[in-house]
């Protein structure tokens, strides 16, 4: 599934059937190449997240979590940054570790069963998530590959 399809999907408590909010951002554990938490926006003033482990169903019409208590405040600076939109993936520069820009991130492909991130897309370009090095305030950093788009001819 693509993150753009899941964006805004309601997050619902199984115990109370209450909608806790809508999926706004995801927290990605880069070394594990996995979505570990969702930032749920709406309703409450303070940023709230749900752990991937709390999800009982990631369906086409809603993301169901165990209960209302699954929503929690950010646990660290990185989660706060994600919730504040400072690590937004959409539109972020995709940079190789050789210092060459590959494009701007347009989507992230993941497995809705496990949260595993499989690819990062920048327009036509799809980069295997195995190449992910870091997601930071400046860019999404990936390992350079021989088949990266060649440097434009110097003027």
């Amino acid at each position: 599934m693509r993150l753009s399809e899941a964006d805004g999907r309601p997050v619902v408590s199984r115990a109370s059937a209450e909608t806790l909010g809508a999926l706004k951002h995801v927290v990605i554990d880069v070394p594990a190449r996995r979505i570990v938490a969702l930032h749920v926006a709406g309703g409450k003033r303070h940023a709230r997240l749900v752990d991937w482990a709390s999800i009982t169903g990631f369906g086409p019409d809603g993301i169901v979590v165990e209960d209302d208590a699954a929503a929690r405040p950010p646990a660290d600076d990185r989660e706060s940054a994600v919730a504040a939109g400072r690590l937004d993936l959409d539109g972020r520069l995709l940079l190789s570790d050789a210092g060459d820009a590959l494009g701007a991130v347009t989507d992230v492909v993941f497995d809705e069963g496990t949260g595993a991130v499989t690819a990062v897309e920048a327009g036509e370009l799809s980069v295997d998530a195995a190449r992910l090095r870091a997601i930071g305030p400046y860019c999404v950093l990936v390992r350079a590959a021989p088949d990266d788009p060649p440097a434009p001819a110097p003027a």
């Binding site: 940079l95 210092g99 930071g136 400046y138 999404v140 110097p154 003027a155």
Partner: protein, 194 residues
């Protein structure tokens, strides 16, 4: 594989950390050793709209990669004092800036003034391989006002003059495409001639 770039294009590029994907500085000036033609490091500006100069330096020895769009370092802590290579280059060159110097061949012909420095970035580091030169002599019979002049393994630069072998004039190119082979041919010629 190696890539040619202009020093002016390197200035302004962000310095990005590999551990946090954060832009921690941007390149102000590219510093060379005239004796070895190597890039020895960078002076830095803060990132942002009114980027003020930073006292930290980035020695080449702490650069992970110099790409088309960014200078990569492992972590923020790589920024710091100049290393020995930077100190030596600074001590040898003083504040002499090669930009604006008059290019003089060892035959005594003035070719013009240096507009930019061409840097080759490859596996074994980054070195100066040529200059963009602007002047009536190199313009003669050519469409472009700025031409590329290959350089040898060492540079003689004073405050006003950059001295080049007379043979360099034959290897002048209009643009960067084909300049790489011109550099190799020029170097071969110098090696044979001595």
């Amino acid at each position: 594989m190696s890539v040619l770039m202009r020093a002016r294009e390197i200035s302004g590029r962000p310095v990005v950390t590999l551990d946090a994907a954060e832009d921690v500085a941007e390149v102000k000036d590219v510093l060379f050793s005239y004796a070895s033609t190597r890039v020895v490091g960078f002076t830095l500006n803060r990132r942002g709209f009114l980027g003020s100069p930073m006292k930290e330096r980035l020695p080449w020895s702490r650069v992970a990669a110099l790409g088309r769009d960014a200078v990569m370092i492992e972590r923020r802590a790589e920024l710091g004092p100049a290393d020995d290579a930077m100190e030596e280059a600074a001590a040898a060159s003083g504040d002499r800036d090669v930009i604006g110097a008059t290019v003089m061949t060892d035959g005594g012909t003035s070719l013009g003034t240096v507009e930019d420095v061409i840097v080759q970035v490859g596996g074994e580091g980054a070195r100066v391989v040529g200059f963009e030169v602007h002047g009536p002599r190199v313009e003669r019979g050519r469409a472009a006002a700025t031409l590329l002049l290959p350089v040898a393994d060492t540079l003689a630069v004073s405050g006003e003059t950059l001295m080049v072998p007379a043979a360099a004039e034959e290897f002048v190119r209009d643009d960067l495409s084909g300049f790489g082979s011109a550099i190799e041919e020029f170097r071969r010629r110098l090696a044979e001639g001595r």
